[in-house]
């Protein structure tokens, strides 16, 4: 949160007399402590470790499969871009993101988001957090910011690990977009960064949903399980053709549209729809989490 925003942020009655600048400092301090609590947890580090391992596994598997000099498997199975990895290691970034986005990444985000409020509540530390003159709204916003930071961190861990493995095992260089045109390696790197950012942004919806679930219960495990369960349910529903009228409103429906960034020219329609649906989920479940959290009785 920036200094300007804190001036207008909603503050629950009772703390209205506080002075402005200490409040801004408070927010920054709160965010910093929240981030360090999140990222110092062994659980968070383990999740990031699992995410970093996925590209390594994919890279080694592709390397072994094609080690005898044969081209990549001709059939179109597997995640997107997998057939191009042997020719350009940069494609491992795209493949790894395509492989982790449907499940690993949102699951990790669901764990962190589900634990955000319910975990504190379950450990009995939530009331101490509220003793500080930060206010519930600001605490919730800080929690959400920390979860979003984890979304970005998780995605970047996958991307960087994939880039490192790709550079080690496969050649790099000019690459062919899926439209058949060529782009330079530097532009390819830029597109990889853009794709990583879009993938991170695709997780905004799950993060908001997880945060809302987290405000509903006092048990961190229950909140995580519910969030991950919802994630799996939505993914399954997204596969049922009879529900095609509803599917555009599922948060995961346009996730794989990040591949459209590899078209030339870039096909923006689905990308925009994806970002729009994430913003919608953030608004709806963010405000629901706010309504629930600021109105509930904190007993633990």
């Amino acid at each position: 949160m920036s200094r300007a925003e804190t001036g207008t942020a909603t503050v629950p009655a009772g703390t209205g007399a506080a002075v402005r600048s200490p409040r801004a400092l408070w927010t920054l301090g709160l965010l910093r402590s929240e981030l360090s609590v999140t990222f110092r947890r062994w659980r968070t580090l383990a999740l990031l470790g699992v995410l970093a391992a996925v590209p390594v596994l994919v890279g080694i598997a592709v390397k072994i499969e094609t080690g005898d000099g044969a081209g990549a498997g001709g059939d179109a199975g597997g995640p997107a871009f997998i057939s191009q990895i042997t020719n350009n290691g940069l494609f491992l970034v795209f493949t790894a993101l395509a492989a982790t986005l449907p499940f690993f990444l949102p699951m990790a985000v669901g764990v962190v988001a589900g634990d955000a409020v319910a975990g504190e509540s379950g450990a009995g530390t939530l009331r101490y957090l509220l003793v500080a003159p930060a206010g519930r709204t600001r605490l919730l916003l800080t929690k959400y910011a920390a979860v979003l930071a984890f979304c970005l961190a998780g995605t970047l861990v996958v991307a960087v690990s994939a880039l490192a493995v790709g550079a080690l095992l496969f050649p790099l260089g000019e690459l062919t977009t899926i439209s058949g045109t060529r782009i330079s390696f530097a532009e390819g790197l830029l597109r990889a960064l853009a794709i990583a950012l879009v993938v991170a942004a695709s997780l905004i919806g799950v993060a908001a949903l997880g945060l809302f679930v987290s405000t509903l219960t006092g048990s961190g495990i229950a909140a995580m399980a519910t969030t991950v369960g919802l994630l799996i349910t939505v993914q399954i529903l997204d596969q049922i053709p009879q529900l095609h009228a509803l599917q555009p409103y599922f948060f995961s429906h346009y996730w794989l549209s990040f591949a459209d960034l590899m078209r030339e020219p870039v096909y923006w329609d689905d990308l925009m729809k994806n970002l729009g649906i994430q913003a919608l989920y953030a608004a709806v479940f963010g405000s629901a989490a706010w309504a629930r959290f600021t109105a509930k009785d904190i007993t633990a």
Binding site: A98, T176, I178, S179, L256, A288
Partner: protein, 409 residues
């Protein structure tokens, strides 16, 4: 609330407080509800508001519009085409495209021994027949008669057909396979003529315009942000399954922008192809540049040409001109193609085993002066296969097929 609050003399004040607290809570929950409401209203209203109604254009006769289409010399264009086809074929999934394409996996190809890996995943005939069912997004770009590109957008991959000078490249990014042919050989030229854009479809449709057809201009429409006239082509004859064809023609350039074919039986369009975005500027030259990526499997056209049988190239409804014993009955929209397979019709339950039952379950048994036969129906094309091995097919109703079979007897 703690239990002690609810007894004794404090009840009145505590109850009031509780009511106020509950009111505040309710107000808070109104926020997410309001957000959902605003979102729903936006999703519902924005398309309606963006639809600025039919544009006001000077009146034009059908003849003038046809001339405008013919005179249209749009050579440079790029855009996105949305194409939906609903032929009412039974949904066979991948089997369907395998059968239609005649490529690897179809019964005829697998019979030839090495048919399994004879074709390339990047072969245009394999790919573009996918358009025969479902909804697809295509990107088209053209710069003069020598440089064109059509890309079929798929989830996370793309199939591009690039014509640049004498080369025709097919690139399937999912399997990283390349198909190459040269226009001079002739086969390549035919293949890239699979009608996919509204313009191609319109040309096909307008070939049929004669005195059996009524052509009118019915109002205007907005397609891909451009003002367009709506040209309506209707068969005058009874017995055709084609209800009407609507073509939206760009008012300024005369380029067809949208093509819709509605069946006489009503319901959703059989073919609906239209630009969702279009630009008449010169496309980037790099669009047409193609060099096979490193490591891609390149298949030359000559290698597969011998293995690919002729069938599967025809658009539905087009008479199969090169089949032996082909007869064309009728004219205009109610043309029926008929030929004698020389065999004994459909494999029956005795002869064909399970296959006969399987095929028979898709058709309807009919009787007439000609004997008995089976009619296979789609929403556009119907085919009658008689038990003595004659086939009648056309974009006509079942009754018209039976009548033709009776007359031929």
């Amino acid at each position: 609330m703690a239990p002690y609050e609810s007894d004794g003399s404090t009840t009145a004040g505590a109850a009031e407080e509780r009511r106020a607290a509950r009111g505040r809570k309710a107000t808070r929950y109104a926020v997410p509800v309001a957000v959902i409401g605003v979102a729903a209203a936006t999703i519902g209203l924005v398309p309606a508001l963006a639809d600025s109604g039919d544009p006001d254009l000077p009146d034009i006769t059908a003849q003038q519009l046809l001339e405008k289409i013919a005179a249209s010399d749009t050579e440079r264009l790029s855009g996105t085409v949305r194409i939906s086809t609903d032929l009412g074929l039974p949904d066979l999934g991948g089997l369907e495209s395998g059968l239609l394409s005649g490529g690897p996996g179809s019964p005829s190809a697998s019979g030839s021994g090495d048919g399994e890996d004879g074709g390339s995943a990047a072969d245009p005939s394999t790919k573009l027949t996918e358009l025969a069912a479902g909804s697809h997004t295509l990107r088209v770009a053209a710069d003069g008669p020598d440089r064109q590109k059509v890309s079929l957008l798929q989830d996370g991959s793309e199939y591009s057909l690039i014509h640049d000078g004498k080369d025709v490249w097919g690139y399937d990014s999912a399997s990283n396979e390349v198909y190459h042919s040269t226009v001079a050989t002739g086969t390549g030229k035919e293949r890239e003529k699979v009608p996919a854009t509204p313009k191609d479809l319109t040309e096909e449709a307008l070939k049929a315009v004669d005195d059996t057809t009524s052509v009118t201009v019915e109002g205007t429409a907005q397609v891909a942000g451009r003002d367009a006239y709506r040209l309506v082509v209707k068969p005058r004859q009874d017995g055709s399954t084609v209800g009407q064809i609507t073509v939206s023609v760009d008012a300024r350039t005369g380029t067809p922008l949208k093509f819709t074919l509605t069946p006489a039986s009503g319901g959703a369009a059989v073919v609906d192809a239209g630009f969702t975005k279009v630009s008449f500027a010169k496309p980037d030259a790099s669009t047409f540049d193609f060099t096979p990526p490193k490591g891609a499997k390149v298949t030359e056209a000559d290698e597969t040409a011998a293995e690919l049988p002729e069938h599967g190239q025809k658009s539905p409804g087009a008479p199969a001109g090169d089949l032996d014993g082909l007869k064309v009955i009728g004219e205009g929209w109610t043309t029926i193609a008929s030929f004698d397979t020389g065999g004994s019709g459909l494999p029956t339950a005795d002869a064909g085993g399970g296959l006969g039952d399987f095929l028979g379950s898709f058709g309807d048994q009919v009787k007439g002066d000609f004997g008995t036969g089976t009619v296979f129906s789609t929403r556009l094309v119907n085919a009658l296969i008689t038990d003595d091995g004659k086939v009648y097919a056309g974009a006509v109703t079942k009754e018209a097929l039976v009548k033709a079979a009776n007359a031929a007897k």
